[in-house]
Amino acid sequence: MCATCGCDHDEMVIKDSHFDEDEHLHDHQHDHTHGHDHHHHETVEMEKDVLLKNNLIAERNRGYLEAKNILAFNLVSSPGAGKTSILEKIIPDLLKKFPVYVIEGDQQTTFDAARIEKTGAKTVQVNTGKGCHLEAEMVNQAIKRLRLANNSILLIENVGNLVCPALFDLGETKRIVIYSVPEGDDKPLKYPHIFESSDLCVINKIDLLPYLDFNIRKAKDDALRINHHLEFFETSARDGSGLEFVTNYFLHELEAFQKEIVID
């Protein structure tokens, strides 16, 4: 037994003539001073935003894209809402005016990248593995691989997920939530964060409205309750209705973006 503090750690006594009897190793702490190893405690104030790193990289991406006059859209939705189908339909029209680049985010496979590449847009697939969303660092890496031209459009198709991508800024110019009619008109209230963080809302698969109990007025009103800045588009990627408005929106935004540049 330890003669100094009375603890019972006989098995840990070091049988060595160089040590005094009370010099042994034990792993508990004492608040008095003696010859044992003991721990010091300290509270360190940090005051650091958890998403600091992601946000810093996102701002770097944003600065790079702005300097090159590239309009970047982060497309978020649940799986199967029609992100890839919409892109397949609108990219050929966008390509007539500007170079278009696509970052495809999926947990696995390169299926979507293969679909998009057929449109003629340069595409990079990012597989997040177990990750449920894209992060700014992944976009940063993808941008480097794409070698973007000035005055172009970058479309970032996020992982299909209505929850997680909401928290991660990628450095995009605008965020677009794509929301499809079969998902039901209650989604804005159920998944408010994604609607709160988006600038545009595309309601897709409107060709199914006659067959489903989807109240489009309610869906929009609920989404506006969360985010009253939200702008809406109603589309059907299947029959192509409403897609020209989305295409024109992209083209107008990029043209307006270019006009802001003051040339000395």
């Binding site: 010091h40 509270t43 360190v44 104030e45 940090m46 992601n54």
Partner: protein, 114 residues
């Protein structure tokens, strides 16, 4: 489950911080989480153990300091408590609200041993 990424982000930031201190271990982390931050605390708790395994934060305690949601109405200029993002102004029923508190997600402090 973005809470796993959140937990990994915390581990990374804390590990960098303690590297300056020669700490043996981190015994607890105090996290400020706003009610409107979009973080599911149960999910974060669930992710904590796997995220901290084999790091200096192994077996550390995650302490939460919640922050109530608060919004400012741009129409009638009243402040009110917001518990959900779709809450409207209780004074004038406007949607035109700006969140002023409740989106925090911040590491306040850590307890270390060395």
């Amino acid at each position: 489950m973005h809470e796993l990424s959140i937990a990994q982000n915390i581990v990374e930031l804390v590990t960098e911080e303690v590297a300056k201190k020669n700490a043996l271990k981190v015994s607890s982390v105090l996290l400020e989480v706003g009610e409107l931050a979009g973080i599911e605390l149960d999910a974060l708790d669930f992710a904590w153990e796997p995220a901290t395994q084999n790091t200096l934060l192994d077996h550390s305690e995650l302490k939460i300091e919640p922050v109530k949601g608060k919004a400012h109405c741009r129409s009638c200029h009243h402040d009110f408590n917001m518990t959900d993002l779709f809450d409207i102004c209780p004074f004038c029923q406007s949607f035109d609200n700006e969140i002023v508190e409740g989106k925090e997600l911040k590491i306040k402090s850590i307890d270390i041993e060395y």
